[in-house]
């Protein structure tokens, strides 16, 4: 299958809203999940560091 | 075991009788919710007749749900639940007794009142009978499924609405087949299929729900 032009590709045979609506939302949602997961893990690692430093200070 | 079953059942019924205001309220609530719809939607008879099964069932769902937090909540707060768990009898059996009492006090009255409400909405004899039968089969499911939600949310922050979130999705099939039974009768296509699905659901719930409830209660007490 080959598309005549980029426009034709973007038009998706007249179903652009639906096809791209699906694909873009899926991409955004999945990307967001990954970003949130990374952030959560990063803050946790940082937090682990801080709390251990605190105990170090106390000790 | 049987003695303990009866004791739990009798105590719950007696307590409900002492607090009859409480469960009368939930029945009253049912009646009010159903009666509110003609006020909100307008008095067109055909419209009301179409809505009737759905409205009655949704109201029944909500009424059953409203009474759920009480099922184990008060036992949990005053320490009787601990005593229940510490009896030498299988907890599932005692739980079944509690659920039976709950159904008798919240489900059966709804089933008895619903026909009157159905008539008010212009339903005829046949559909009203099916409505009654469907509620009689469906409300114990509501009690049992609801019991699982109630037990799971025991002693949990913000349990009231969490119950709704857990339980309402599980209520949906009961709602669909319950309302479907009446609608099918109105439409003249026969309600046997819907009713037997409701009955099957009830049997499954009777077997599985007490087990889940008992496990959840044990966890809540840990």
């Amino acid at each position: 299958m080959s598309w005549g032009s980029l426009d034709e590709f973007l038009a998706m045979g007249g179903y652009a809203t639906y096809v791209w609506g699906s694909y873009i939302v899926s991409a955004v949602v999945l990307a967001m999940e990954v970003v949130l997961l990374k952030r959560r893990h990063r803050t946790l690692r940082a937090g682990a560091g801080r709390s251990s430093q605190q105990t170090d200070n106390l000790a | 075991m049987w003695d303990a079953f009866v004791a739990v059942f009798a105590r719950d019924v007696l307590q409900a009788w002492r607090r009859r205001a409480d469960w009368l309220t939930s029945i009253f609530f049912f009646v009010i919710v159903v009666s509110l719809f003609p006020l909100g939607v307008g008095p067109e008879p055909a419209l009301l007749r179409t809505m009737a099964p759905g409205v009655v069932w949704v109201a029944a769902l909500l009424a059953a749900m409203l009474s759920l937090p009480r099922v184990f909540g008060s036992d949990f707060a005053d320490g009787t639940l601990e005593q229940l768990v510490l009896t030498p009898h299988p907890l599932t059996v005692l739980v079944l007794a509690k659920m039976l009492a709950h159904w008798l006090l919240s489900g059966v009255p709804l089933a008895l009142i619903a026909p009157v409400l159905g008539l008010q909405f212009g339903l005829e004899g046949g559909p009203v009978g099916v409505l009654f039968a469907a509620l009689l089969l469906g409300t114990p499911c509501l009690s049992l499924i609801g019991g699982v939600g109630a037990a799971l949310t025991l002693g949990v922050r913000g349990s009231g609405v969490l119950i709704a979130l857990l339980v309402l999705p599980l209520y949906v099939p009961v709602l669909i087949f319950g309302a479907g039974a009446v609608e099918a009768t109105v439409a003249g296509t026969g309600a046997a299929g819907h009713l037997s699905l409701l009955a099957a659901g009830l049997l499954i719930a009777i077997v599985l729900a007490p087990w889940a409830i008992a496990a959840a209660l044990r966890i809540a007490l840990e």
């Binding site: - | 075991m1 439409a187 026969g190 046997a192 049997l203 077997v207």
Partner: protein
């Protein structure tokens, strides 16, 4: 010892009850719990009377007529055994075509015409390029006209 017996009895009882439940479920699928009714069911008076319901089937080849007003259409829904004429005013879904599946919501009027308020397309689970579809169609036509594989067949079979 005794309590083990008790527990065993409880478990056995539970299994028996679940068995009954399974039987009831099977029984339920004998009767019609459906999203839509087929024209045969309508003909056999299994569909609701005086009430809105859904009818499902194929749009009969050559039955689609546009009324002069431009929005109203008439077509016939069939499951090859029976058929029901349908009247509808409104936007049709893209997949609405003669010979394809359709589900219409509306009411069967006394004149025997189904007045639809909503028309949905129901398509099958086949996916192929148009050329392949053409080839298949030609082969099938050549083989035998009467052996049309019907989209709605499965739906018809379901109640069994």
């Amino acid at each position: 010892m005794k309590s083990r017996h008790k527990r065993l009895a409880l478990v056995a009882g539970g299994v028996a009850v679940l068995g009954i439940a399974a039987a009831l479920i099977l029984n339920a699928f004998q009767s019609n719990l459906v999203f839509f009714y087929s024209p045969s069911q309508v003909a056999a008076h299994e569909a609701p009377h005086d009430r809105s319901f859904r009818i499902g089937g194929l749009v009969e080849q050559g039955s689609l007529q546009r009324q002069p007003d431009g929005v109203t259409v008439r077509f016939v829904v069939t499951d090859t055994a029976k058929s029901v004429p349908v009247l509808y005013a409104g936007i049709l879904p893209d997949l609405f075509k003669e010979g394809k599946g359709v589900v219409a919501q509306g009411k069967l009027e006394a004149d025997g015409v189904f007045h639809a308020r909503e028309v949905l397309a129901k398509h099958d689970e086949n996916y192929m390029p148009p050329e392949a579809a053409d080839a298949l169609e030609k082969a099938r036509k050549a083989e035998h006209e009467s052996q049309r594989t019907l989209v709605m067949e499965r739906a018809k079979e379901t109640p069994k």
